[in-house]
């Protein structure tokens, strides 16, 4: 009896990609089943990372529960109170390392595992990141498995002080524990890669008709090498073959591409054309200096990718860890982010630190507003999305990995009970949230990293 119950449950979940997070009886409820049945909009997940933590005392709203007033840092989210969840006391326990600093708390932000200390010989983030785990599930449905965005290129060099390659501070998305995903940082490239077939560029030229044949030959050739190779050689060859495979899949899957194109409504097309012009203007006029616009372009591309169903999962890095980006373009800020994050409890420095945090949330508000402005089914795109914002540190001054600033927005397709400010038990694994989000996205997971339970409190 019990056994068949399990099977049917799994089958149901597999078939529906439903809110696994729900207690079983509720999940069996026909009204919920309807909500997740075929033809309903898909769910999307975005993970936004900010470096250097947040100003202490200014992040979490004071009052717990559903009737909270926004904190100073979260104040740009006015009007979104009912769409967000503030989640206090979450942490990655593997961030507590004998080696202090930022790297151990960045590369593992979405893997929740311990990273290997190395200057490059054996890079390992401990696990596949949650976004990539979700992407494995949603990849079949969309033309791009996932979006990996940011604004900074990989920081150059190794940190001789602490013995880490700076790659660790530049990557939160890990396809495998040993392979970080390449990050797109230029709006022009990110846009073209996804939407070039819909908004052709003026100087566009047709796809090389021999691309498929070239791929066939070079992959055959590479495969013939596979025998008798060293271990590292095989890994490198596997990377090459996998990359070929991913291009081939997109070439082969013309039907999917046609479906994608057919799904582009006139309003999406209009938005895309508009965005295309804005990107050109950005490149031509502001010469890439205006960082706010740069962030917004990337976020708009992600929003449009979600809307057009080009992809369902994305990550965005506001900066690499230890980012020394100068924020003096903000009124009253006179230094770089990382320096200010070490505020030493000096009020003048903390005020500036807070302003930088505030700027980050302004951009999140911009993104949420975009998602909310897009109607989808009976609600909005935001209702069908989960947008996580967080940092790997809480107070940057102490590099503290405890009680991380974590905020989740969006309804998750009706799965989330938003509009709450929740205080969890001290040191609750952040992985619990990822487990909950992963399951909500339809990934079958027993557990994730150091997760101990699902966060039932956030589920509808």
């Amino acid at each position: 009896m019990k056994k068949s119950w399990h099977i049917s449950r799994r089958r149901m979940l597999k078939g529906m990609g439903a809110c696994i997070a729900l207690p079983l009886l509720e999940a069996m409820n026909p009204s919920i089943l309807r909500a997740s049945s075929f033809g309903e909009p898909p769910k999307r997940a975005a993970f936004m990372f900010a470096p250097n933590g947040v100003c202490p005392g200014k992040w979490a709203p004071e009052k717990l529960g559903s009737d909270f007033a926004l904190s100073p840092i979260l104040s740009p989210l006015k009007g979104f109170e009912k769409d967000i969840l503030v989640l206090q006391q979450l942490m990655n326990k593997h961030s507590i390392s004998t080696v202090d600093g930022h790297y151990t708390k960045t590369a593992n932000f979405l893997t929740s595992m311990e990273i290997t200390r190395t200057i490059g010989a054996n890079v390992n983030s401990g696990g596949v990141s949650i976004d990539q785990l979700i992407a494995q599930k949603t990849a079949k449905e969309t033309i791009f498995p996932s979006l990996v965005y940011g604004i900074d290129r990989i920081s150059s060099g190794v940190d001789a002080n602490v013995g880490f390659t700076r790659l660790y501070g530049s990557s939160i998305s890990w396809k495998t524990p040993t392979t970080p995903c390449a990050k797109e940082i230029e709006a022009r490239f990110a846009f073209d890669r996804m939407f070039r077939t819909i908004v052709p560029r003026r100087d566009a030229k047709a796809e090389n008709p021999y691309k498929q044949s070239i791929l066939d030959v070079v992959s055959e050739d590479a495969k013939s090498l596979q025998r008798n190779l060293g271990i590292a050689d095989q890994n490198k060859l596997a990377e090459y073959l996998e990359s070929i495979r991913s291009i081939e899949m997109r070439l082969e899957n013309q039907d999917q591409l046609e479906d994608f194109k057919a799904g582009i409504s006139p309003s999406i097309k209009k938005e895309l054309t508009h965005l295309d012009i804005r990107i050109d203007e950005y490149v031509d006029i502001t010469a890439g200096i205006d960082i706010t616009e740069k962030v917004r372009l990337m976020l708009d591309i992600m929003a449009l990718a979600f809307w057009s169903d080009a992809s369902r999962v994305g990550t965005f890095m506001f900066g690499n860890s230890v980012s020394g980006r100068n924020f003096s373009f903000l009124e009253g800020v006179r230094a770089n982010f990382h320096s200010l994050s070490h505020h030493q409890n000096d009020v003048r420095r903390m005020t500036q630190y807070e302003k930088i945090n505030h700027w980050h949330i302004e951009q999140i508000a911009y993104f949420l507003q975009k998602l909310k402005s897009i109607p989808e089914a009976n609600g909005t795109l935001l209702d069908n999305s989960m947008v996580l914002f967080g940092s790997g540190l809480s107070d940057g001054n102490r590099h503290s990995p405890f009680n991380l600033p974590i905020m989740l927005a969006g309804g998750g397709g009706g799965c989330l009970k938003t509009g709450q400010n929740l205080l969890f038990e001290e040191n609750t694994p952040l992985a619990n949230l990822y487990l909950t989000m992963g399951r909500t996205m339809g990934v079958e997971m027993e557990s994730f990293a150091d997760s101990t339970r699902e966060l039932g409190e956030i589920l509808a």
């Binding site: 700076r166 590292a232 003048r348």
Partner: protein, 654 residues
């Protein structure tokens, strides 16, 4: 029998799983270690470096056996270094007696050296061309320059801080897409330049007789042989190109494969204009996305002992080291016709390569990364425009050009590496001279200019270095001191202890500059900070006459600057000029650091304990030759790890 088998198995298990037990029995020095050496570690080191506190991430408590010391030889070489330097134990702890220092360093050295008797060149993983190597390779191969920096995702850095480290050079679907687009772009660009294209791909035309023959075959044998004659001509073009692109001769099946592909495209495009050129172009694109082109892959036969790499492999190692690109035809020829492993041949080729203008790529590739100046071109590095209105991308590029030209001059012309620390000249142009406040330099060309006084010469007086080690709003003595310790002397300070705020930030930007020295001094009073900041701060404070853009200043407005100081090692100086003289006396550290940096760069891997004999050899070569760069490079390319490798097939874990 079963009893015997069991004991054999048990013994086997013991051998396999407890090397320490084995070592305990076998190593005659073990008892002495316990009696004499370990007690010194226990008395002076493990009160902080124990299993619980693990200060600096180091636990010295768990080394009960010599064999485990050897396994972590790198760590123990550092232990010896810091004990010898006197930076450990820290000042707040009771010092070691000279006798204790001698005993500890002597015996640990002895353990390590015995272990090193077995030579190990290390494993070389297949290495993807990095973005710059790819760019230079296209220039050398096609004469086409593509700005790969803006198209490709940035390469991560590893090892001694370079972006050419095999293990960490990933290939992502995104990058492979860009390789496709770039191959397309580059080949089409070459094709558009008629004379350049024709120099590589001579025109093909069907003779009348050939056309007749084709028609005849088609008519009577129903066989299309129109591809045969063009194929014959194409084979030569393609083979020559692929040989250079793959940096070796092609195997028969590889030639076949390229030929087949040419034929396929040719037949497919027969009715189009210029099917011959089209088919060649597509085949060239294929070569440019082939694994053989994108990766430097050396053979990994099933051989357990280290072996000499092949001539072609050595040629590639040389050219990517010195030129950041593929070998030229002369080098490939030398690899084929002569023995590149012959020191005389190797020296001749290296000297030739160093005279080639391509060797100047080392300035941009090696020096800029070694000195951590890539930071300047990172878009996230923005100075406060109100404080530094004259800073612009143009000025920044000049700053970088100065460092590159100077490094190349020192490396390739004057050949005296110590000039990196101090000299009385540099390479600047009119705009940079204006920035420095030097009159009468005209023109945009970087030119050799002599300085009247001793403050400016050498890397420490260069605007690029001084700007990269400043904050967006002001100078940072700590960052400058840290930079000298790490990049010049190779003695990085350990990270600040957890939960201690970074000293750097303690200074408020609005406060007056005078408080900077005072603040730093106050912090150095804290024992948790002093052991490292005593090493960093005086150096940085000695450079305070250079502002955040490297311009000379006598004072901070009303407050005067006091550049005098005392180094942690005891020497005192009055200002930057004397500071450099002191650094010049630290030749051994500088030689060692430079050797490590360049060896890691040349091999494309992190260095380990087993590389220490090579590092010593390189260090010695610098000291013996008064820091002659050519002699150094020749020593490096003759070194064991540069010419040998260990197969990954046999064992990766060594």
């Amino acid at each position: 029998m079963p009893g015997l088998l069991q004991s054999v198995l048990l013994l086997g298990a013991l051998l396999a799983f407890s090397p320490s037990l084995l070592a305990q029995k076998e190593d005659p020095r073990q008892a002495h270690y316990w009696q004499t050496v370990r007690p010194i570690l226990r008395q002076h080191c493990t009160s902080c470096h124990n299993g619980e506190d693990k200060k600096g991430g180091i636990n010295l408590e768990r080394y009960d056996f010599i064999i485990s010391i050897v396994r972590d030889g790198e760590l123990f070489s550092k232990v010896i270094d810091v004990v010898n330097e006197g930076s450990m134990p820290p000042e707040i702890r009771p010092p070691m007696s000279q006798g204790e220092i001698d005993t500890l360093t002597h015996y640990i050295n002895n353990y390590l050296e015995t272990a090193l008797a077995e030579k190990d060149p290390g494993i070389i993983s297949p290495r993807r061309l990095n973005n710059q190597e790819y760019r230079y390779t296209l220039i050398d191969l096609l004469g086409v320059d593509v700005n790969t920096d803006s198209i490709f995702p940035a390469d991560p850095s590893g090892g001694a801080g370079f972006d050419n480290q095999a293990r960490i050079l990933y290939l992502s679907p995104l990058l492979l897409e860009r390789y496709f687009e770039t191959a397309d772009l580059a080949v089409e660009q070459l094709y558009a330049q008629d004379s350049a294209w024709r120099a590589m791909v001579p025109v093909y035309e069907n003779s009348f007789g050939q056309s007749l023959k084709n028609w005849w075959h088609e008519f009577w044998h129903e066989e299309d042989i129109s591809w045969q004659a063009p194929s014959k001509q194409a084979d030569k073009v393609l083979e020559a190109f692929a040989t250079r692109a793959y940096r070796r001769f092609l195997r028969a099946e590889e030639k076949q494969m390229l030929g087949d592909f040419f034929k396929k495209v040719y037949l497919d495009a027969k009715e189009q204009e210029q099917p011959y050129d089209l088919a060649i172009k597509e085949t060239l694109k294929l070569i440019l996305v082939s694994h053989h082109f994108l990766y430097r892959q050396e053979a990994d036969p099933e051989i357990e002992l280290p072996y000499e790499i092949s001539g072609f492999e050595l040629a590639s190692r040389l050219s990517f080291f010195l030129w950041s690109s593929i070998p030229d035809e002369r080098l490939l020829n030398a690899a084929y016709r002569e023995n590149l492993h012959d020191p005389a041949v190797l020296e001749r080729e290296v000297k030739r390569m160093l005279k080639d203008p391509k060797a100047k790529r080392m300035g941009a590739q090696f020096a800029i990364q070694w000195l951590e100046l890539r930071k300047l071109t990172d878009p996230a590095f923005q100075l406060d425009p109100e404080i530094y209105p004259s800073y612009s991308p143009i000025l920044r590029d000049l700053m970088l050009a100065e460092v590159e030209s100077y490094f190349n001059y020192v490396m390739l012309e004057s050949q005296n590496l110590l000039e990196l620390i101090d000299s009385d000249f540099s390479f600047i142009n009119e705009a940079l001279a204006e920035h420095y406040g030097i009159a009468d330099i005209k023109g945009s060309e970087m030119q050799k200019v002599s300085f009247a006084s001793g403050e400016r010469g050498g890397l420490l007086g260069m605007a690029g270095v001084l700007t990269a080690t400043s904050l967006p709003t002001r100078t940072s003595p700590v960052l400058r001191g840290k930079w000298v310790l790490e990049q010049v002397l190779g003695t990085p300070a350990p990270p600040p202890p957890p939960n201690v705020p970074e000293l750097e930030a303690s200074h408020d930007t609005a406060a007056g500059p005078q408080t900077l020295r005072v603040m730093l001094e106050k912090h150095r009073a804290d024992p948790a900070c002093s052991s490292c900041h005593n090493a960093m701060d005086p150096i940085g404070l000695g450079l305070e006459n250079f502002d955040g853009l490297g311009r000379w200043r006598e004072s901070y407005g009303e407050l005067s600057i006091d550049p005098a100081g005392v180094l942690k090692s005891g020497e005192s100086f009055a200002g930057p000029s004397e500071l450099k003289q002191i650094l010049l006396t630290k030749k051994e550290l500088f030689a060692r650091n430079f050797s490590k940096k360049m060896l890691s760069y040349a091999l494309g891997r992190s260095l380990g304990f087993k590389d220490s004999p090579t590092i010593k050899e390189l260090q010695q070569s610098l000291i013996d030759t008064d820091f002659n760069t050519t002699a150094f490079i020749i020593t490096l390319v003759n070194s064991y790890p540069f010419r040998y490798k260990k197969s990954d097939n046999a064992d990766i874990q060594s």
